[in-house]
């Protein structure tokens, strides 16, 4: 009984594919019957988490939507949420690699090792990994393209802005030259933000002090709020949160004590623009990590045949992969002088006149030295 049923189902699926295929071809008689029209490019995005993080998983998903919109029938896209259950990640990546997807996109350092082991087994597939880079020296990864973000460059701008705000006579700024940094975990990617932030602040004024706290995870927004309140209590008048969902606690803290905040990854002022305008008014800008832009760029290059599989690229401001959110809050809260200055600095970073250090690959001693310089 079960077998007949499954046979019937298979038959139905085959028929429906065939029929839709026919329907498609009757509509597109005008198209050239070359290779392009035969098979759409199938792209799968595997998220090792769930959507709704208001951070780079949402951004990656948005990138896929942009690709779908741009290429229409030429691509088939699918986002798969593997949830935060780590035991599901490897089997899902293996399953998807077994299926007929052409390009498989994964992200974050947590997927790096799995991909290094699985990608060589499927040499005909293409893989893209964002926000980290795989180890090309010790593994045969000619089919993997890695995207790193120069978050240190974007954070440099955030640091400049924070320093400008704290020494300014803005409404909620105090005379204490002290700014805050709220990180999720003490890991290289987060510290890369921190190093850029510190250097940006010091670029404006050597005497700036930075309060640095790590929440220890990316979930606990209540703890994020506690830590941020402690920072504001120590005299910081503006803080930068780099902690995903947990970092949103900082925004609540900012509202409670009426101080400024800088968001991260996505435009965090817009999250609260409608439900809590008072809070949105304190978020001067957000340091965006545009995973979406970088994925669209990668697929564009794939179609052109110029995407350098087998290597890693560091994307920064020039590729519109990082930058500050230019929204109404930024434009009303921040004076035009500061905004222009930020633009100048942005140009200097792009031209290479200002080089920003990176915490990725930096030794603990060097990092501690930088942290101690703003103690």
């Amino acid at each position: 009984m079960k077998r007949t049923l499954s046979l019937l189902l298979v038959l139905m699926m085959v028929l429906s594919f065939g029929l839709t295929g026919c329907g498609g071809s009757t509509d597109t008689v005008d198209e050239p019957s070359g290779e392009e029209a035969t098979e759409p490019l199938k792209i799968a995005l595997l998220l090792n988490g769930t959507l709704g993080d208001k951070s780079f998983f949402d951004s990656a998903d948005n990138g896929l939507k942009m690709i779908q919109e741009k290429y229409g029938d030429e691509v088939v896209t699918k986002t798969i949420e593997m949830t935060y259950d780590e035991t599901k990640w490897r089997p899902t990546l293996e399953d998807i690699s077994d299926e007929d997807w052409d390009i498989i996109i994964v992200g974050t350092w947590q997927m790096q090792e799995m991909l290094q082991e699985i990608a060589p087994l499927y040499p005909e597939k293409r893989y893209i990994i964002f926000d980290t880079s795989v180890d090309y020296e010790n593994y045969d990864l000619g089919n993997v393209y890695s995207i790193n973000y120069k978050q240190n460059e974007g954070s440099f701008l955030a640091g400049v802005l924070a320093a400008k705000v704290t020494i300014s006579d803005m409404e909620l700024a105090n005379p204490d030259k002290r700014i805050g940094f709220l990180g999720g975990m003490d890991i290289p990617v987060i510290n890369d933000f921190l190093v850029g932030y510190i250097e940006g602040a010091q670029y404006v004024d050597e005497e700036i002090k930075v309060e640095i706290s790590y929440i220890g995870n990316f979930d606990d927004s209540a703890k994020g709020k506690e830590l941020a309140l402690a920072q504001y209590g120590m005299g910081a008048d503006i803080g930068f949160n780099v902690a995903g969902q947990a970092g949103l606690g900082q925004l609540d803290a900012a509202k409670e004590v009426n101080r400024y905040a800088i968001g991260v990854d996505s435009d965090q002022a817009l999250i609260f623009a409608e439900s809590d305008p008072e809070k949105a008014n304190l978020i001067v800008t957000s340091m965006l990590k545009r995973v979406d832009n970088s994925l669209v760029r990668a697929i564009d290059m794939h179609f052109e045949g110029t995407l350098p599989y087998g290597s890693a690229e560091n994307l920064g401001m020039a590729e519109e992969a990082v930058g500050l959110a230019d929204n109404e809050y930024f434009n009303t809260l921040i004076s035009e002088d500061i905004r222009n200055e930020l633009k100048d600095i942005e140009a200097k970073i792009m031209s290479g006149e200002i080089t920003v250090s990176s915490a990725i690959g930096m030794s603990t001693e060097e990092l501690n030295e930088i942290k101690d310089s703003v103690k």
Binding site: E226, A230, D252, K371
Partner: protein, 310 residues
């Protein structure tokens, strides 16, 4: 070192301790009352999540924070009742029911959040309300004390009062006597005509109600939104606090404050550039130390009992 002392003896530290401890007190009182009736409620974490979401959604749709709180507590009680139904009527294992509630709370709240707010992470698109902070009349005149004790969220005061409430309920009322009797020896209680099932139901419903207050505090006082898995283990810490406090209301309160202070300390110490790994360890080290102290005291008590019998 001077800075360290300055942090600990600052008023904002005292204020933070109360704020951090509040959800632990509620959850620990929930753990205590069910423990007294001989049922261990490890579903506190899940119940808190369900209540936290209920509070946010109801307050957003009714624009009344107190209705939100009320519904959060009712949702907590109902979840406690559901647990009682599974464990007492359907005879499932109470620990497994608790685990099921925790898993349901973790996943179900995200699903419900997606239905209501079209978002899987945070409820920021809902205009939910927060419960007010209140000043205590006489205390707010006293210099230092006023800054620590007065001006806290109303739920912080309810949490402190709930300890007294639980004490009176458990030790001074006939119901409390029945609850303790069922917890000590349910067959004996049954033999004198106490309805064991009814008492356990009541204990679990009350336990759910307390966890409901704790959940409402998380989403309507501590922060102003619901986000997935926002309780992050506080329900379990409460269970530890209840065990450490020797299952007495005031002992549990003290244990909660120990955990709360350790947490607040680890939050404040970060700014001193003590290595983060060390700072983040503090609450857990305190937990282990507390449990060692508790169990060594307990074993020495048992030894004394055995000794006196001889």
């Amino acid at each position: 070192m001077d800075k360290f002392i300055a942090i600990i003896f600052s008023v904002s530290f005292g204020y933070a301790v109360l704020r951090v401890t509040t959800p632990l007190i509620f959850a620990a009182m929930g753990a205590l009352i069910s423990d007294k009736a001989g049922v261990i409620n490890i579903g506190l974490e899940g119940i808190m999540l369900i209540s936290a979401l209920t509070g946010v959604v109801v307050s957003a749709y009714t624009q009344s924070a107190f209705l939100g709180l009320l519904m959060a507590v009712i949702a907590g009680s109902l979840t406690g009742m559901a647990m009682a139904y599974f464990a007492l009527n359907l005879k499932t294992d109470i620990i497994l029911s608790g685990i099921a509630i925790n898993l349901f709370g973790g996943g179900g709240t995200i699903f419900a959040l997606y239905l209501v707010a079209h978002d899987k992470g945070i409820s920021s698109s809902l205009k939910s309300l927060v419960l007010p902070k209140i000043d205590i009349p006489i205390i707010d005149q006293i210099p230092v004390l006023s800054e620590i004790i007065s001006g806290q969220n109303i739920l912080t005061y309810i949490a402190l009062l709930s300890v007294v409430f639980v004490y009176i309920l458990v030790y001074k009322t006939p119901l409390g006597l029945q609850i303790r009797a069922v917890g000590e020896n349910e067959d004996a209680a049954d033999s004198v005509g106490v309805s064991v099932r009814k008492i356990k139901y009541i204990a679990l419903i009350l336990s759910g109600a307390f966890a409901g207050f704790g959940g409402a505090y998380m989403s309507m006082a501590y922060v102003s939104w619901f986000s997935k898995n926002m309780t992050v283990g506080r329900g379990f810490i409460a269970l530890a606090a209840e065990a450490m406090g020797g299952s007495t209301p005031f002992g549990t309160l003290v244990a909660c404050f120990v955990f709360g202070s350790a947490e607040a300390l680890s939050n404040s110490l970060q700014s001193l550039r003590v290595p983060t790994e060390f700072v983040q360890m503090i609450p857990y080290v305190v937990t282990v130390l507390g449990l060692v102290l508790y169990s060594s005291r307990k074993t020495s008590q048992i030894r004394k009992k055995i000794g006196s019998r001889r």
